[in-house]
């Protein structure tokens, strides 16, 4: 598949808009939504003029990153790099979904390394901010916090995406064709296993008491044996959560009812 300079520019800008550090007017939640591979795949598909392929690849990659979390500023993969340059590259090379998943995993890990570099670089903006705060220069402080970081992020994200996509259109297809069958097979096996990374992180994060593993098993059984879909399982999970809350509440009945009410409002 061929790519024009304008298409490459659009993909580069989209990658920047879909990065969580981007303060576009709609707020961080919008960038976060744009960074999801299923959204990125659809947008890249639109730009390259083949929405169905983009969506199919995006959906396959999304499945791998369902459990992707960003905790304490540490991520295993950079979602904007996964969702834009890697999907574009896969489409340009004419790769199928399983190969695209492995490609995305590779780009994601490399992207995380690039993003770690950005995170270290950000120290400069904190120092600049300190300097302008001490001078009581609010305008310049705002510049250090609101203007300079997005520009830096733009240079990194747009620059890399544009370069990767332009080079990719020339070489990706040949490169892909030269990969042996066995490697592609292993790549597709790995694509099937990789979702376990994000899931393991989620389990580590939510499992404080090992006894709670029973709820994980209930989730598995709902899908495999009972044949429920994700929404039905989530409803069951919610019911279990409410039951847990009520049951534990009876054990500690000396809590004031007032504070309970406040919490209900909070939730």
């Amino acid at each position: 598949m061929e790519i024009t300079v304008i298409q490459a520019i659009l993909i580069g800008v989209a990658c920047w808009l879909g990065s969580v550090e981007n303060p576009q007017p709609l707020g961080v939640a919008f960038s976060d939504a744009l960074s999801k591979p299923i959204v990125g795949g659809t947008i890249v598909g639109m730009i390259l003029g083949d929405i169905p392929t983009g969506v199919t690849i995006g959906a396959a990659i999304q499945a791998m990153y369902l459990g992707q979390v960003l905790i304490g500023g540490v991520a295993t993969a950079d979602m904007a790099f996964v969702s834009y340059p890697s999907i574009a590259l896969a489409m340009l090379a004419g790769a199928d979904a399983t190969v695209a998943v492995t490609l995305a995993a590779t780009v994601g890990v490399l992207g995380a390394a690039v993003f770690t570099g950005y995170e270290i670089l950000c120290s400069v903006f904190y120092q600049l901010g300190d300097k302008y705060i001490a001078e009581n220069n609010i305008q310049k402080m705002k510049m250090a916090y609101m203007v300079l970081p997005p520009i830096t992020s733009f240079v990194i994200r747009f620059g890399l995406t544009f370069t990767i996509v332009m080079l990719g259109s020339a070489y990706a297809a040949d490169l892909l064709a030269s990969i042996p069958e066995l490697v592609l097979h292993i790549a597709s096996v790995l694509g099937g296993i990789l979702p376990a990374v994000g899931i393991s992180i989620l389990v580590t994060y939510t499992l404080k008491d090992f006894k709670f593993i029973i709820y994980f098993l209930i989730g598995i059984v709902c899908i495999t044996f009972l044949g429920l879909n994700m929404v039905a399982t989530a409803v069951i999970g919610s019911c279990l959560a409410v039951m847990y809350y009520m049951f534990m509440g009876n054990q500690s009945s000396n809590q004031s009812s007032q504070s309970e009410d406040e919490e209900d409002e909070l939730l």
Partner: protein, 282 residues
């Protein structure tokens, strides 16, 4: 919500309170800029400062010394869940308004509240806004995308954005309205119970994701003169998705007990895939 703030303005006659626009600006600054300067050094400190700026401008607009002092107070490490953490911005905003009206309050007190709340809120917030909501929304989106439809992406953007912005606003406004009162509620025993209940929901969903999206199929067969044994079929008869579940347990063990990094875990899975792939088992 806006009615309640108006009421507060009337009740506190004689004291300066924030206008509705200022409250909105404080909340939206956080919603927009909380991750702008995304560095390990102080993470969301700039986002927090920008969120307090409308308040400081109102009270200390003509007092450079005080302004610098207040900004410096908040230029310290801060990191929490962007959505649930908005409640801290609300609480601190209402405290800063009290302070602006002359109530005695040390910097240490304000910072201890921020530090005390950011951890628990990151825990419960990430469990909901990262571990529970997105997987559910995105798995519906994947379903909607079948056949290459753009519907899935549209649904994902709208649902994720709506859920986050609504929760963020609710939390900020609740924090702003209850002020310091909210702190002991958030740090009380009830909260850890809610946190546990959330992990019940989170783990159920995570189990469902495991069963739906981790794939591992044994292709090797035992062929003898009399019969062919298909190992995957036997496994499916006992417990489908047994191996994906074990892979997740392995990941959990390595991450939690062996303190392995996630990137190394990817390496471990890569080795598993290569070894089993070369041997022809999968």
């Amino acid at each position: 919500m806006s009615e309640k703030i108006d009421q507060k303005e009337e009740l506190e006659n004689g004291k300066i309170t924030l206008t509705k626009e200022e409250v909105n600006k404080s909340w939206y600054s956080w919603f927009k800029y909380c991750l702008t300067v995304f560095g390990y050094e102080r993470l969301q400190a700039p986002g927090f400062i920008l969120s307090m700026l409308p308040i400081f401008k109102k009270f200390y607009g003509n007092d450079p010394e005080k302004m610098v002092e207040r900004l410096k107070c908040h230029a310290v490490f801060y990191n929490t869940n962007p959505v649930f953490g908005a409640v801290v911005n609300g609480i601190v905003a209402s405290m800063e308004v009290e302070r602006g009206n002359g109530t005695e309050m040390t910097d240490e007190f304000i910072n201890s509240i921020k530090v005390g709340l950011m951890g628990p809120l990151a825990g419960i917030g990430d469990a909901v806004t990262q571990a529970t909501l997105p997987p559910i929304i995105l798995s519906i989106a994947i379903g909607l995308s079948s056949g290459g439809s753009a519907m899935g992406a549209a649904f994902a953007v709208i649902a994720l954005y709506a859920a986050n912005i609504i929760l963020s606003r609710l939390f900020y406004m609740q924090g702003y309205k209850s002020g310091r009162e909210a702190v002991h509620v958030l740090l009380g025993k009830q909260m850890s119970r809610i946190q546990d209940a959330m992990s019940v929901l989170g783990l159920t969903v995570v189990g469902a994701i495991t069963a739906s999206y981790v794939n591992f199929t044994i292709t090797a067969q035992y062929v003898s003169e009399y019969s062919t044994i298909n190992f995957q079929e036997i496994l499916d008869g006992i417990f489908p998705k047994l191996i994906p579940m074990c892979l997740v347990f392995l990941g959990y063990y390595l991450l939690k007990k062996k303190k392995m990094s996630a990137v190394k875990l990817i390496g471990v899975y890569l080795v598993i895939a290569i070894v089993l792939g070369v041997l022809g088992i999968v």
